[in-house]
Homo-oligomer: 332 residues x 2
Amino acid sequence: MARATVQDVAKTAGVSVGTVSRVLNKSPAVSESSKEKVTAAIRQLNYRPLASARDLRRDRTMRILALAKNLNSPIISEAFRGVGDAAASSGYVSLIAPTAGDPEREQQLVDMLRNGSVDGLIMFSPTMPDEDVDEMAEQLSVVQVCEIADSEAAFGVSIDDRQAAFDITTHLIETGGRRLAMIGNRAARSGRLREEGFRQAAAEAGISPDQTLFVEGEFDFHTGRRLTRKLLKAAPLPDAVFCGSDTVAAGCVREITDAGLRVPDDIAVAGFDDSVQAEMCVPELTTIRQPAYDMGRLAFEELLARMTVPGVHRRGRTFLPHELVIRDSTKN
Amino acid sequence: MARATVQDVAKTAGVSVGTVSRVLNKSPAVSESSKEKVTAAIRQLNYRPLASARDLRRDRTMRILALAKNLNSPIISEAFRGVGDAAASSGYVSLIAPTAGDPEREQQLVDMLRNGSVDGLIMFSPTMPDEDVDEMAEQLSVVQVCEIADSEAAFGVSIDDRQAAFDITTHLIETGGRRLAMIGNRAARSGRLREEGFRQAAAEAGISPDQTLFVEGEFDFHTGRRLTRKLLKAAPLPDAVFCGSDTVAAGCVREITDAGLRVPDDIAVAGFDDSVQAEMCVPELTTIRQPAYDMGRLAFEELLARMTVPGVHRRGRTFLPHELVIRDSTKN
DNA sequence: CTCCAATTTGGAATCGATTCCAAAAGTAGA
DNA sequence: TCTACTTTTGGAATCGATTCCAAATTGGAG
């Protein structure tokens, strides 16, 4: 038994395909009796309108796609929850796919927007160069969240990474930090901004960080440990470390503790993101909280405008407020 | 400038739509000169075949969808990586969407399979009742991973949760555990199996666990802490706790430590999943490693068979081997 | 140069749902 | 009962890519 079509439903219900379609789309111009007959036939045949046929005719899919490097970042999954809720309340289905930082896979997924498989795209961590993002944003419905490419045409929602890094570094200094270290990630756009904020805070306090106390790599636990081992070879030791993510900070704390030093007494540590790992860590991490859910919601709202309202749209970045969360990994 | 179609390309290249389509689909029956003209026209017009039109005609989308309760489980994101790699090498695009355990949202996403938005479905944690999964598997391309509904028609890949729980509980007993406690989750199918394994291991060792030493709830850090506080009110205290996930185990260890007790000397703790949290914990967690990546790959292979080979398919569950990883949270 | 086979091409039919237009049916007022 | 509406309906045209069939072209062999 092949799939039922509108034709089949029409025949079974004894009406025309037009009427069936009108029932499906809740057009008011259908008599009560026809509606009942059609509804019965639909149930009897277990009919579902074929998405591709409908999408072709309507020229839209009511689906959006989000792209992220990987899925298990708590910030991304929380932001995507915001996207999903906002999308659902506008009748859109939201899907997500990981790119693994692979430009080829990213391209393949971006093609889903180009070929009309989805109506809009949300990019969490573009791998492509800034110019490509810019060009895409010029003609297609794209919005960025968290990691944002420098682009004229594009729109992005994030916190002010530079300011947040500035704030938390300033906190480290105010609580006695002098030999400032940072574990960063220059490969990420937000990582570069956080480094800027770190340096700026140091500069304003009249501190010029020792070059050997800046190390960088991927933001995972083991990298955090490895890079901290590097920092612990410095002499004199750093007395405060700003880590670009909580996961890295957890690794940092662990390595310091294993070396027989105390956090924060000997070395203070700060994280970033306020993920659950900030609370799992001992001592719990001072960190920056991002309003990820709201960032997601806002991103979808803007995407919706781009998908439905023709013409020029909002450009540039919008910053949502972050929050410095002080816990036990820094002094007070 | 509206979107270009095959017609436009054909006109620009001075050939027929048939020829354009043949070039697009790499049919060998095209002369070199036509191919060049068409390729040039495609580039000039920046043409992309419209997905919905192609899908309609071909009656398939080359897309699959995975559903999970939430995305930030390390097991799920690792398994989905396996799905994605296997899918990519067969020319499929794989997407994922969180259901948040909401039956309505799950239904909406499952409808994407029913209405042909995707060719196949991978379910990580079905919210719907077992019968519904069964009925779906009977007629549609569906495969389950990790959390597996009890169903005749469906196929699922997972570890043997009961055996794994049996193994790790046995380890707890062999290292001196007598007052056995468990933090479980009866809401999850795998949670129920793990409980069975736990009880079976206890029974075989001649231990009948104190009923007050079984507590259950969601598998997150704070729940882990809360439930452990409950356990610590028991008298006498448990001397070994089997936790249904590493995250919960991390919360458990934390609460025990905060209470001034030592892990594993006073109370041994075991986790499940071997996620990164098992290593972040102090002491590091004894746990069960799941071959999540391979589970994902295998799931896709089976899904591919269902999508492409007509007829009856493999049924029931396939178990992949798990591994007991012994670390410092249990004695030795 | 002719004939037959192989290669290449054009174009119509097709996939299934939607929508527009014209026609039919229904309703009300006179 | 007839007219002037409004409501409801049927059915053809449409969306854009693919594919099949028949026609046209090419290439060799004789």
